[in-house]
Symmetry: C2
Subunit: 146 residues, 2 copies
DNA sequence: TTTTTAGTTGACAAACAGATGAATAAGTGT
DNA sequence: ACACTTATTCATCTGTTTGTCAACTAAAAA
């Protein structure tokens, strides 16, 4: 359905969005919490940073935060960086001549809903409940001036 | 969405089903008509034959035909031979702890429709209009006792 | 200035999907 | 018996995705 990489990307940016920008998030923490291989995640985050969806800060007390308001980042924008979403919109059987068959019609209805889900949802909806999750566990990081 | 192999399999068995069992279909013809690499198709057909969805007859005037009535073969039965359809039914983001979020709820609705499409459609619906397509072009095969 | 932290980058390996070619086995018709 | 046709099987190749390792760069702190 979604590629593994796209799923990782959504989980990662969803996790960052859930912090409500109150502090920077370490790649290491995202990796552990979201069960994403550390170095593979680094590359995903870098791509997201290139596109401006997140910002990266290097060095001590560095980390990642959103590059724009969460409500302005749709799932579709993230997914299409890491995979081709065109197949969702085209013929179920990869045949362009079967416009009229019942299967294709049903698929059209479904694919419209999928695109609506991807384009109509934003990254703050991914983890609506975990914004305070890591705050206490990471008291050791409280030194940083947030 | 569907793997390329699953799409090939649906096109192939759809083509065979469209012949209404009036005559055997050559792998070569399926390959050409359905734009599927010949040798790759052979392996797909072999798997379908193993599972009893089609029958293969070797030698001169051989070919393939359905192994059971078209209306008893659902798209889901074919697809699941060539790919894992579980992801359609599980969480959008591969996380089992987000039962309540709005995205997951919407995805549940969509995935139910996908499964309904796959399980509720049969292979005779794939190409409802081409049953006589190759009959005339293949008059040279008319020798066979059909 | 040195050390530590943390993101960046490139090389690479494993696994898989998709595709290809050639040899083989099993039937049919002469 | 023989030639021919057609499916079967095996070995291999390619490209992509996913994942790993390690060296590198930048920034802050000591």
């Amino acid at each position: 359905m979604l590629s593994q990489t796209a799923i990782y990307a959504l989980r990662a940016i969803g996790y960052i969005a859930a912090q409500k920008n109150t502090h920077l998030v370490l790649a290491k923490v995202i990796s552990e919490e979201m069960k994403i291989p550390k170095n593979f995640l680094s590359k995903i985050l870098h791509k997201l940073a290139q596109k401006g969806f997140i910002e990266s800060i290097r060095g001590t007390n560095g980390g990642f935060r959103l590059g724009k308001p969460a409500k302005e980042i749709s799932l579709a924008q993230i997914v299409e960086i890491f995979m081709n979403i065109a197949p969702f919109q085209s013929c179920f059987l990869g045949i362009h001549s079967c416009q009229s068959c019942g299967i294709t019609k049903k698929w059209d209805t479904i694919s419209k809903q999928i695109m609506e889900l991807l384009e109509g949802s934003t990254v703050d909806q991914i983890f609506p409940d975990i914004e305070t999750k890591k705050k206490n566990a990471k008291q050791s990081n409280k030194k940083c001036k947030e």
